[in-house]
Amino acid sequence: MRLLFILGEIGSGLRRNLSMVISVVLVTFVSLTFVGAAGMLQMQINQMKGYWYDKVQVAVFLCNDGSTAVGCASGPATKEQQENLQAMLESPAVKQYINDFQFESQAEAYTHFKEQFSNSPIVDSVSEDQLPASFRINMKNPEKYQIISETFSSQPGVETVSDQRQVLERIFSWMNGASVAAMGVAVVMIFCAVLLITTTIRLSAFSRRRETGIMRLVGASKTVIQLPFILEGVIAAVVGAVLASVTLWLMAHFWLNGELSTQFLNTPFISSAQVLVIAPVLIALGAGLAGISSLLTLRRYLKV
């Protein structure tokens, strides 16, 4: 009986305050979408780190015809220099830091280059001897890059030692920045949402002061009087959170996994199923914020 009664009260409250309720839904929707987007960016960063860090290599590039580095003064790397480098890589002093290494000849480099830029006209302007041969080294611990760099960069026949990780780190720090920005917007929007919920509950309590006054007089408990108002706020916020979750899912499904994954074949995108991990967090966050802000509002504006 009491449950039915409370449900009825919630229904009439939502109907009476429809425009305010819709604005609460929209503001929570937008704010939680930003929260979720920040979360998704973080998930994407982790996903890419896990995927790329296993694959990134330290590359020791050998001199070729066009090299201008100091170590390349004597022209392209000779067979002898190349064997010398290989011997160093196999020596125990270096071996303890690396898992394995491969030699990539200029011909192989050209093949890889053509694969990677198959869609781009740049392929036509590059010839095989413009690309350097290289040793591709898989590190045991990518943090130890410095040791390899110091050992090899001064060797004759070596043009440069490059760490692919550094390129990735730049991408990740950019993505991190975007995620922090999204979180910043989210915080401002959540603040708006809380203020709006507070105002809505206040209006709702005011428009039903006659009912609550009678409820008080006939001895209705605090729960029966306050619960409809709190649930009103919570329901509106949860609807907003569900909308945000659906939007994020659609974004992951159609944009990341549909559009972007066909453009960036080598990039691992988070799956739309992973977004479902964020959804309950958003719903709990929305419900919690609305619940707490309504409760605090009622304490001030609804005498019991």
């Binding site: 009986m1 009491r2 009664f5 009678i214 006939v218 209705a220």
Partner: protein, 254 residues
């Protein structure tokens, strides 16, 4: 049923207290009129019984319990034992007569079957049989007040507080309302009624407690509404100076 022991209520420091060390006992089943000018402390008296306000000093006992010792989560239980009626009826305009009365039972969790059984009974007691489906705006003032009384007593409270229940009604309708209140009192409910309506007080001949500036200046059984009140009462006395009213007052003193 209701006992005030040296109760003082101060709303604002430095201002005259709304109630000034009032001691009073109202017994179970009694019908008491609370009279006095506006600002004499009648409403404060009623608010203290409901624990809407806290006494500044002294103790208020309702049904043997010191209301100061009732914790805030048990206040609803106290209020279930007290029905209240106001001058402005306070009905819910979008609910019909039945729903208005049923509302008081719904919010304290009474079952649907009990509500369906009790509400028509109570409506019969207040003389509104067959008007269950009417909306408040379709009723006369007297009928609206009967609905409000039905709502106040539907949960069978031991006490009924009425704050100027006839203030908005014409004399004949008021008499009808008094009949209803009398009937409820006959059934064992303690009734405390704050009023300005001298005709009613004189007609009913019940206990009269008169307040002035927060003090009890008169407490008489089977009494009349004497003309000792200032301002409003003063002018009334002048108007009635040569008439019946004066004679009645003299009769009371004899």
């Amino acid at each position: 049923m209701i006992r005030f022991e040296n109760v003082t209520k101060v709303y604002e420091q430095n201002a005259r207290p709304a109630l000034d060390s009032v001691s009073l006992e109202i017994n179970r089943g009694e019908f008491t009129f609370l009279v006095g000018a506006s600002g004499s402390g009648k409403s404060t008296f009623l608010r203290l019984i409901l624990k809407e306000d806290k006494a500044s000093s002294g103790s208020v006992y309702v049904a043997g319990q010191n209301v100061a010792n009732i914790s805030s989560w048990r206040v609803p239980k106290l209020r279930r034992g007290i029905g209240v009626v106001f001058q402005d009826f306070r009905l819910l305009p979008q609910k019909n007569v039945f729903a208005n009365v049923a509302f008081a039972m719904q919010v304290i969790g009474k079952s649907r079957s009990i509500i369906r059984e009790t509400v028509p009974e109570v409506l019969k007691t207040v003389g509104l049989e067959g008007k269950e489906r009417r909306m408040p705006h379709e009723l006369s003032g007297g009928e609206q007040q009967r609905v409000a009384i039905a709502r106040a007593v539907v949960n069978r409270p031991g006490i009924l507080l009425a704050d100027e229940p006839t203030g908005n009604l014409d004399p004949i309708t008021s008499m009808g309302i008094m009949g209803v209140l009398d009937k409820i009192n006959q059934n064992g409910t303690t009734v405390v009624m704050a009023t300005h309506d001298d005709d009613i007080v004189n007609e009913m001949r019940r206990r009269v407690v008169e307040l002035k500036n927060g003090k009890v200046i008169r407490d008489e059984a089977k009494a009349l509404y004497t003309s000792m009140i200032p301002v409003v009462g003063e002018s009334r006395r002048l108007r009635d100076a040569s008439g019946e009213e004066l004679n009645r007052a003299q009769g009371a003193q004899l």
